[in-house]
Amino acid sequence: MEIALLHLVIWLPALGALLTMLLGQGTRARGWALAFSGLALLAASWLYIRYDLRASGMQFESSFLWLAPIGSSLRLGVDGVSLPLIFLNCLLTFLAIVISWNLEHRPQLYFMLLLVLETAVSGVFASLDLFVFFLFWELELAPMYLLIGIWGGPRREYAAMKFIIYTVSGSAFMLIGILALYFFTGAGTFDLFRLAQGARALPVATQVLFFVLLYIGFAVKVPIFPFHTWLPDAHVEAPTPVSVLLAGILLKMGGYGLIRLCMTILPDAARVLVPILVTLAVINVLYGAAVALAQINGDLKKMIANSSISHMGYVILGLAALTSTGMEGAVMQMFTHGTITGLLFMMVGLVYDRTHTRMIPDMSGLAPRMPFIATTFVMAGLASLGLPGMNGFIGEFLVFIGSYSVWPIPTILSVFAIVLTAGYILWMLLRVFFGPLMPKWQDLGDATPREVFAVATLLLVIIVVGIYPSSVVDMIATGVQPIARLFA
């Protein structure tokens, strides 16, 4: 029963996609999509509740031998690292479907792709077999490409192509890394833990090489400087719900890969490479913040996208600390960033739907015309700049406290970004919502109940987790414990 639960979470959306494809002509598609993503969300919530906090290690495991010739099994399981992310995935997809409700352009294909995406991402987080992991990883590509490419903005084709080329190039290296692990460990299996055992026997230089191969794949996804330039383009062009998913959950696949594959399988290499990782993390944090700040006269979405780069830098910083607190913070930061940036992109979308512009200088004083949107945008912004009481603070604080003892100077540099973040977020809010209302925006309306529902749900998560972090952190702590122990 419980094993089935995880399978339900993963396969329900796929089933939904199939049914949408077969039965969901026109706007009927959205009903199917909503139903199945809702069911998946329910299943994920149930899984979340049933998770045993006293145990560390994998739970809800199941395994089916699948590709006997190469020794790959469909082995699934979750721990405290992956389960929050799976839950986040289900939640964000559900909300993405809610806010796409009135989509008129080719809805059938759209909703089908969203569901496929959901299956792929959940699959990535639940796979314990690297080959299956890779399959799910790649499964996400085509839907994302089409989602950006069909429903995106004016430069959507360029952005979609950039996205896919970057990701595929990255995952090509990752595949080489996975195969290299397979061959050099001689384990004859893709089982994560068996590979991890085998990999420890390898010379450190070899491990470092493999780490780098895997790293490139994940670094593109996170994205880590200098592989990041696809992200702003993809975000700017992607439609709102897709941006939500892209920032909210897809980037997390990279961070997850780093901790689940790189760190778990190749701890010795991780130890060697952390100085570089830390440097990159700091660059990400400050560089992303600086570029976000530079968008103050530009594109709202680009600013948020670059803030994502900055915030994902914290994830890397936390991981590079190689302490349980740092890793916990990194995973928590992934979760919180998923909710916050998801919300931010949702808000940008709501504003854009009304003004049809994303250029910050074109907007001013919108708050009186859309009080709800303004309020929630401000709250999202505050969460993003790490205000305590919102969950963004929890992630950042854990990262800082975990990494400070190991990397004081890089941590201080990263902490400085909280000032920069406050600067650009508040500056942006100021210019968009406050001050005198431009006459041309006189007739804008506020959010519809459907939008209110989506926004409020995310906001609720942000605040509840912010006030009661144990609801997530405790689970994450069980998950990172075995990994951190590798470095103890």
């Binding site: 590709l67 006997a68 010739p69 190469i70 080719r106 294909l109 890779f134 399959l135 790649e138 499964l139 590509l141 085509a142 490409y145 089409l146 490419g149 069909i150 959507r156 084709e157 979609a160 192509m161 896919i164 080329i165 595929v168 190039s169 090509a172 290296f173 595949l175 080489i176 195969l179 290299a180 061959f183």
Partner: protein, 484 residues
């Protein structure tokens, strides 16, 4: 009265599929003569399919046989049966897809007949073990393909394609012949098995030159760089079903011969290190040239031609491994490649009725006009790009795997990078179909026969990947026969 040939170590039954096919080609021609000239030639399609099905049954019956006949010239083992079935499958799918092409043309019966003849020749190529038979069956297939390529007589490009194919194939086979002559001179044999016994220790310059010439001659057939120059032109100019057939069956036959000669006769010989290295070089060159040239190509058929060159590069990597696994992965690759390529070309064939030429522009917004058709093309292209969980990913994976097992890490890495690059041009087609707005809204209708072909291709692309195990096991079993 006992068969006189029994005494002479000749078992005609082993040739049943080829004979059946040849006879059936004649039957098609005769039935055509019997039909009134105004009647629809559609029944001929069914008739041809019947013949192919019969030949396929006959080939199936040979499965598991492992014998030689005709004084060692005919070899029937699982590899040859595999290739026979592969060619028959390609022929069947191409015949099905060609309905659109033949419906307005003349000489429909001759078209089908020639395909059947050609298939028979290719099947012979895959099951001979002797230089003369190889040469003759290769020439037979080349001639019929040259004729088929120039079949659209009012089409400027078709004639040009036929001429190019013909001249270059003749040049190449002259080179191949020189090589065979040298092999004969060095070993005194034309029988591959005997040649291999002599060459086990010899790596004289003459043997090496002979080998080089054979590589050059067969390089034409499989379209390896630098012998690939004809490929884009001919693929573009030839009628699309024939292009599909060229890219799958003819290329497959080329590989069959390469496998017989190199993985069979020359395996373990003194010159093995040389040809292994050569294959690696050719592989690198071929995949790179193919992929880069395809990158900005706007003509869909030409792009697929370059892509097929790139795929030869990948397969050469598997051959360069010179292991059972390498060979079996090449066989598997060919199977998957057959499904995907025929699927892609079938879409182009169907679309020929609706669009002018094959420029990508013509496929704008196809997803709106023909969602299923574009989905199949997209699947095939993504499979060619090697995106999981499609069949193309698995076939490529096994190939790289085999090469990696042999220690060809650099080659594999380069191959993976190439695959990533290749995604760009495959995606461009998908972009055109899904992202661009259609110029017209008129829907595209697909006839029954092409639909069957398309469905089979799509099914293959989807299913072979996910349920790869049995196929891979079968391929491994077949490969064992050769490399043992």
């Amino acid at each position: 009265m006992p068969c006189p040939y029994k005494r002479m170590n000749v078992d005609v039954w082993l040739l049943t599929p080829e004979i059946l096919l040849a006879i059936w080609a004649c039957v098609v021609l005769i039935v055509d003569l019997a039909m009134p000239s105004s009647a629809s030639r559609r029944p001929l399609l069914a008739l041809s399919l019947l013949g192919i099905a019969g030949a396929a049954l006959a080939s199936f019956a040979l499965l598991g046989t492992n014998t030689t006949s005709f004084f060692g010239m005919l070899i029937i083992d699982n590899v040859s049966v595999f290739f026979k079935l592969l060619f028959l499958l390609a022929a069947a799918l191409v015949v099905l897809a060609s309905e659109t092409f033949t419906e307005h043309g003349e000489f429909t019966a001759e078209f089908y007949g020639l395909i059947l003849f050609c298939t028979a020749a290719l099947m012979l190529m895959a099951s001979t073990n002797e230089l003369m038979s190889i040469y003759l069956s290769l020439e037979t297939s080349s001639l019929s393909l040259a004729l088929l390529a120039s079949w659209s007589k009012r089409e400027l490009r078709s004639g040009e394609a036929g001429l190019k194919f013909f001249v270059l194939s003749a040049v190449s086979s002259a080179v191949l012949l020189f090589g065979m002559a040298l092999f004969y001179g060095v070993t005194g044999r034309t029988d591959l098995r005997a040649i291999s016994q002599v060459l086990i220790t010899s790596s004289s310059p003459a043997a090496l030159l002979a080998m080089s010439m054979v590589i050059a001659g067969l390089g034409f057939k499989i379209a390896a760089v630098p012998f690939q120059m004809w490929t884009p032109d001919v693929y573009e100019g030839a009628p699309t079903p024939i292009t599909a057939y060229l890219s799958v069956a003819s290329k497959g036959a080329g590989f069959a011969v390469v496998i017989r000669i190199f993985e069979g006769a020359l395996l373990g010989g003194a010159i093995q290190p040389v040809w292994m290295d050569l294959f690696v070089l050719l592989s690198l060159l071929t995949m790179t040239v193919g992929n880069l040239a395809a990158l900005l190509q706007r003509n869909l058929k030409r792009m697929l031609a370059y892509s097929s060159i790139a795929h030869v590069g990948y397969m050469l990597m598997g051959l360069a491994a010179a292991t059972t696994f390498g060979l079996s992965s090449v066989l598997f690759y060919l199977l998957v490649y057959a499904f995907t390529n025929i699927g892609a070309f079938a879409v182009v064939t169907v679309m020929a009725r609706y669009v002018e030429g094959e420029d990508l522009e013509q496929y704008s917004g196809l997803a709106r006009r023909a969602p299923v058709l574009s989905a199949i093309l997209a699947l095939c292209l993504l499979s060619l790009a090697g995106l999981p969980p499609l069949a193309g990913f698995f076939s490529k994976l096994y190939l790289f795997w085999a090469a990696a097992e042999r220690g060809l890490y650099a080659t594999v890495t380069w191959g993976v990078i190439n695959s990533a690059i290749s995604l760009y041009y495959y995606t461009r087609v998908i972009r055109q179909m899904y992202l661009a707005e259609p110029a017209t809204d008129s829907p595209v209708s697909v006839g029954l026969a092409p639909a069957v072909s398309l469905a089979a291709a799509a099914l293959g692309v989807l299913a072979i990947g996910i349920f790869a195990s049995p196929f891979i096991e079968a391929a491994r079993g077949a490969a064992l026969v050769i490399t043992r």
